[in-house]
């Protein structure tokens, strides 16, 4: 049998003062009586059952000693050797998010955490399961393993670069705590979480001395680069910021300084053109991982759009809502080619350009349909989020080309159609927008944006920034087979192509990734999750009050136990004892 907290064995010393109180400091009152012969006779008679009387007289003492023994047993938490005796199932969760890579006095937190778990395995004879937690929970060792096998598995556990938000972490662990078979959960982490379930015990490994700076974010505004850097420590730090553009071998270097506990944007002007960069803080601190950050320049392609109109403000504004649209306006019927999209607003044209998509609003034709009539919207993505409550007063009856399909119909008359001719998309509405009240409704800009989305499609260009552990999804309409993904080291990686969606699972390493398609290369960055960075930040703020002399670890044992019940039981014993005593005297 072992004891979880043998130190509390000292509680037994409390028996000594109780015995002293009962025996040695027993205060006798003196009483003169006329004659004590009858009392003596009484005592002589009582000698026969003296032993029982002694026991009876000592009931308060015995009960109090019993109470102390029970309290002691409760505190020292004895455990029987042999795994299957108690049958208590305990889950140990080791935080393997990247912040556990940081050091405390030259020892990584993950190492300290592992040692702590090993201590736990030695002390506690429950049945253990081991989980790791980064972005999600992963079962590493189930209950069938003995402690040495479990320790071997534990030794092999490494930190990942994934992480999760505080809320998600709490959700995951509290969900696990719902398992009624689990008697306790020990979560070994470097952050103090606020769990509601008392089954969850935290072993927090944190340091009072903090020596860490990290890059939180990089953003670009008007050709200037803004790098957000945080100093978590208590001292001002001078450091070098190194930047490498487009994976070249040359670094741009800036000497910077940051005050203690400061979070600051550093504005940097880069004169050179680049597609991506990686920034590094050259400083020897406790957590190296957050000293690097990867950034991909905003590489959204712009689409050249020509609006042919005699002055339609509504259409202009709606088209400009899409930031990828580079809009030009013309009132001439003589079209210059070279635009990605031509928008005709109530303009009659005989010759349409052949090298671009076309969106057309037709006002006049030979046969018209006038209100009142009921129209029906076809099932098409451009009507996503559009309510069917706008009115059309007057519309042309369109002839449906063989490559097109109807979009809006009214009694077999086609009022709008979509299709693709020679690789270019055509979207034709058979009415002037001013012959409908849609222009006055919120549906109009949505319709235009939806139309643009359908025309240009969502493709690779829209991807940009991801965090470690994220899945990447993007549409690929051009050629499913010709996609090459390269990771941060330049190695080719597998991609999953599902219908027209390309999925890249589980990006495990931060860096610049690339997708090659049709001789074009698109980049995206993968960084450590800023949530985790913020988490560490918060943690240091919150932990400051918690961390005392010991800069290695803090145990926050919130084990749910029978103590309350047993204390109530003891209280009852005392009440009974008091009652018996009162009855006797």
């Amino acid at each position: 049998m072992t004891f979880l907290s043998p130190i509390f064995g000292l509680t037994l010393l409390a028996i000594i003062p109780i015995i002293i109180i009962h025996k040695f400091i027993k205060r006798y009152k003196r009483q003169n009586i006329p004659n004590n012969e009858l009392w003596e006779e009484l005592l002589n008679h009582r000698k026969a059952d003296k032993k029982i009387d002694k026991l009876r007289n000592n009931i308060p003492l015995i009960l109090q000693i019993l109470i102390i023994i029970i309290v002691t047993i409760l505190l020292i938490e004895p455990r029987f050797n042999g795994k299957n005796y108690l049958g208590e199932k305990v889950a140990i969760i080791l935080d393997t998010s990247y912040s556990m890579e940081s050091k405390i006095d030259d020892a990584k937190k993950i190492r300290i955490a592992k040692n702590k778990i090993k201590e736990l395995l030695k002390k506690d004879d429950s049945i253990f399961t081991l989980y790791t937690l980064d972005k999600g929970l992963e079962l590493k060792a189930d209950e069938n393993l003995n402690s040495s096998e479990l320790e071997n598995i534990l030794d092999d556990v490494i930190c990942t670069k994934k992480s999760n938000s505080e809320i998600k972490t709490i959700q995951l662990i509290e969900q696990l705590a719902l398992d009624k078979n689990l008697s306790a959960i020990y979560f070994v982490t470097d952050h103090n979480y606020d769990f509601e379930d008392e089954k969850i015990n935290q072993i927090v490994i944190a340091s009072q001395k903090i020596n860490n700076i990290g890059i939180l974010d990089i953003d670009e505004k008007e050709d200037d680069l803004y790098i957000k850097i945080k100093n978590y420590g208590n001292e001002k730090i001078n450091f070098e910021l190194k930047m490498n553009l487009d994976g070249s071998n040359t670094y741009k270097i800036w000497d910077l300084e940051i005050e203690e506990k400061e979070s600051k944007y550093f504005q940097i002007k880069l004169d050179e053109e680049y597609s991506y960069l990686d920034a590094k803080l050259d400083y020897n601190d406790d957590l190296v991982l957050d000293n690097s950050y990867y950034y991909v320049k905003n590489n959204l392609n712009e689409f050249k759009v020509l609006l042919v109109t005699s002055g339609n403000e509504f259409l202009q504004k709606a088209l400009k809502l899409d930031k990828t649209v580079d809009l030009e306006i013309s009132d001439s019927q003589n079209i210059i080619e070279g635009y990605d999209l031509y928008v005709y607003d109530n303009v009659l044209t005989e010759k349409y350009p052949k090298n671009g998509h076309i969106l057309e609003f037709v006002k006049k034709s030979k046969s018209m349909i006038n209100a009142p009539f009921e129209y029906k919207l076809g099932n098409h993505e451009i009507f996503k989020y559009i309510d069917n409550d706008f009115s059309i007063y007057k519309a042309s009856k369109l002839n449906l080309p063989i490559w097109a399909s109807p979009l809006i119909t009214a009694n077999e008359n086609i009022l709008a159609y979509v299709g693709e001719e020679n690789g270019y998309k055509r979207l034709v509405f058979g009415f002037d927008i001013f012959d409908s009240d849609i222009v006055l409704k919120k549906d109009f800009p949505i319709l235009i944006i939806n139309s643009l989305k359908w025309i240009f499609d969502e493709n690779i260009q829209s991807i940009g920034r991801y965090f470690v552990g994220d899945d990447v999804n993007f549409q690929n309409r051009i050629n499913n087979e010709d996609i090459v993904l390269r990771d941060n080291t330049g190695e080719e990686k597998d991609v999953e192509i599902n219908n027209q969606t390309v999925v890249i699972h589980d990006l495990l390493e931060p860096g610049i990734y690339s997708i090659e398609q049709d001789d074009k290369i698109y980049y995206f960055s993968v960084n450590l999750n800023s949530n985790e960075i913020i988490k560490v930040d918060n943690e240091f703020k919150e932990q400051r009050t918690l961390i005392q002399k010991n800069n290695v670890e803090i145990d926050l044992m919130k084990k749910k136990s029978m103590r309350k019940v047993i204390l109530i039981f003891l209280l009852l014993i005392l009440i009974i004892e008091w009652g018996v005593y009162r009855y006797d005297y």
Binding site: R30, I33, L42
Partner: protein, 281 residues
């Protein structure tokens, strides 16, 4: 009727066949020299020839002697326990016992009885103190009998010089275990014994609690005891048993044992309790 008048009308009930040489108001069935004729007996040598009834001699030619009933004076012995156990507690134990003894003595004197108080002298010995007059009786004070002695009074009573056929009134708390010997002594002396047990109320109903050292005021011996409700109950039972034992022994010889309720006034004890118990009439 005031108390004195009532007292004057009271008599001690002498349940005995005692006789004394001196005349007293109480008639005895032992022959004596009173004027009341009792019976005849045959003349024997040594008889007073003046008592010969010559008339019968004339008729029968035999000598008969006239016998007369004697009027005898009863001796009333008062044994008042003066040991320390009789000390006044909350209840005036000794003072009341003394008052009872004094009143009984008065009644006895009033009825021409001879009253003898058995007192303890300075050396601790018991001596007989004859109270011949009411004046002598009234000069007796409780204080004169103090300080109360540490020795057991009953062991002294065992050495008392008591005549036969007397009435003895023993007023004591009767804690002593020598009571049987005492009763036997009175029986041997053919006395009429009246035992009046005077226990204070606090002795009957123990009000002690917890860890207590009980000190015997006579012997100074101590007992450490944890007094609980049950112990109290047992003690009270023990006391009753002890009283019963004394009463039983007293009854064996036709003696009366009365547990006097000291909570009451002495007048009530005399006029009610002792009359009820047929000690007085």
């Amino acid at each position: 009727m005031d108390n004195l008048n009532r007292l004057n009308n009271l008599k001690i009930v002498h349940n005995m066949k005692s006789v004394l040489q001196n005349n007293g108001k109480i008639k005895s069935n032992i022959k004596g020299q009173s004027l009341d004729f009792s019976d005849y007996s045959q003349y024997e040598i040594g008889d007073d020839f003046r008592k010969i009834d010559w008339n019968i001699y004339g008729r029968t030619r035999k000598l008969y002697v006239k016998n007369y009933e004697a009027e005898r004076q009863i001796v009333v012995n008062i044994f008042l326990d003066i040991s320390k156990s009789m000390e006044d507690l909350k209840t005036e134990k000794f003072n009341k016992a003394f008052e009872i003894a004094k009143n009984l003595s008065y009644i006895a004197l009033n009825n021409n009885n001879k009253v003898v108080w058995h007192r303890v002298d300075n050396s601790g010995k018991l001596y007989a103190y004859n109270i011949k007059t009411k004046q002598m009786l009234s000069s007796l004070r409780a204080e004169n009998l103090k300080p109360l002695v540490r020795e057991k009074y009953m062991s002294k009573v065992l050495n008392a010089k008591i005549g036969i056929h007397q009435t003895s009134i023993l007023i004591s708390d009767c804690y002593s275990f020598d009571m049987e010997e005492v009763i036997k002594l009175f029986a041997y002396r053919k006395n009429n014994l009246i035992v009046l047990q005077t226990l204070a109320e606090e002795e009957k109903k123990i009000d002690l609690n917890g860890d207590i050292i009980l000190k015997d005021v006579e012997t100074d011996s101590e007992i450490k005891i944890e007094i609980t409700r049950k112990i109290r109950e047992k003690y009270q039972l023990n006391l009753k048993k002890h009283q019963y034992e004394i009463e039983k022994k007293a009854m064996k010889y036709g003696y009366r044992f009365v547990n006097v309720n000291l909570e009451q006034k002495v007048s009530k004890i005399l006029f009610k309790d002792l009359i009820k118990e047929r000690i007085l009439r």
